[in-house]
Symmetry: C2
Subunit: 218 residues, 2 copies
């Protein structure tokens, strides 16, 4: 079972590493990080560097594709090698998956047209504009397309996928191995449960960032 | 607020990346990955390489120390640069923290003597042998020493720490930003809740691995 995780500059680390930690524990699993250009890839805040050792061409037909999100998604989403590779690799994949705004990249590749899919809660409208049917759920299966909500949802998505791939007992063993018995200190992980002022804080920051980006783009 | 995350060969990725994702979002935060030798550091399964750009000496006095766990912990735990650096850095740190079997390294450095602390559920006995008072809780505060349980517990630990450092609203905004509204597909993340046969599977595998390691050690 070969999983390819596609990295690009300014991806969000946990989007990729959550599912990696789960899927790498499947019996016989091989997880490979790939990028348009092998070499160091920095995360969204520039504080962490992953050394990607394989190009997209070196892995043309993995069993599982996984695309993380992050503010850098605007670049691969605009066209080029990642979109072309995704379209090709999806033809033979068993599962094509994303976490957070990675679903915007899948949608831009045309792989989510008319399909039920999710994304970070702040990106669901954009996901709809790109042709998917946005669903406000943590993990969404539509045939072989599997999408997870924001950042940390990749862990839940990967455990659900592990169960489909290898059965419930193996998935439970992985869950126990990573001691995934979550006890968040607050009930604030969803816009439905977080205090209204916290939701507004993130919405306004998101609008501000979008405006900054629009101004910065020539 | 400077956080140093200490990496070493065969650490477990999510132990480090969960807290990184949370602590890097604190206002004014800087998270730096450090190692005895800067350069590429591979995770426990060899499938992921982090490029560490700073040595321990370059960061002698961070505000927050964080030590992840992983099967490679036996090497830094046995003595040398990491233990010496931890003892020094702990003198001036505001918080000294670990995830999973990272607490075995803190204990070996003498920083958990007589202190309440936790670790991966399979490592709690070993933690006791190293002088700590093992506690089967997900996140344990004892003064400035903060320890998290296995692998994924680093996310809960870091959110609890973020609340202490910057207040509840900031921590809630981080939680909502990473959409940490966990919905594990099974209730199997703790030996108290997982099916008995799954717990036994992990216990026996753990014994097997310990025996293999003992045989491999000259």
């Amino acid at each position: 079972m070969q999983t390819a995780i596609v990295l690009y500059d300014k991806f969000t680390a946990l989007d990729a590493i959550g599912p990696y930690e789960v899927l790498s524990r499947l019996p016989g699993a091989s997880v490979t990080f790939v990028a348009a250009e092998p070499g160091p890839v920095k995360t969204d805040n520039g504080m962490l560097t992953i050394l990607v050792e394989h190009s997209l061409e070196q892995l043309p037909a993995p069993d599982v594709l996984l695309v993380p999100g992050g503010p850098g998604e605007v670049v691969p989403r605009a066209g080029g090698a990642v979109l072309e590779w995704l379209r090709q690799a999806d033809r033979t994949s068993t599962w094509t998956t994303s976490v957070c705004t990675g679903s915007l990249i899948l949608a831009a590749a045309g792989l989510l047209d008319g399909k039920r899919a999710t994304s970070h809660w702040l990106a669901l409208e954009e996901l709809g504009r790109l042709g998917a049917e946005p669903v406000s759920e943590r993990v969404v299966f539509d045939g072989k397309l599997v999408t997870g909500a924001g950042v940390s949802a990749g862990i839940d998505m990967a455990l659900a996928l592990a169960a489909r791939i290898a059965g419930d007992t193996v998935a439970q063993a992985i869950q126990l191995g990573i001691e995934y018995d979550p006890q968040p200190p607050f009930n604030a992980g969803s816009p439905r449960t977080a205090p209204v002022e916290v939701v507004e804080l993130l919405r306004s920051r998101s609008r501000f960032e979008a405006e900054q980006e629009a101004l910065a783009t020539p």
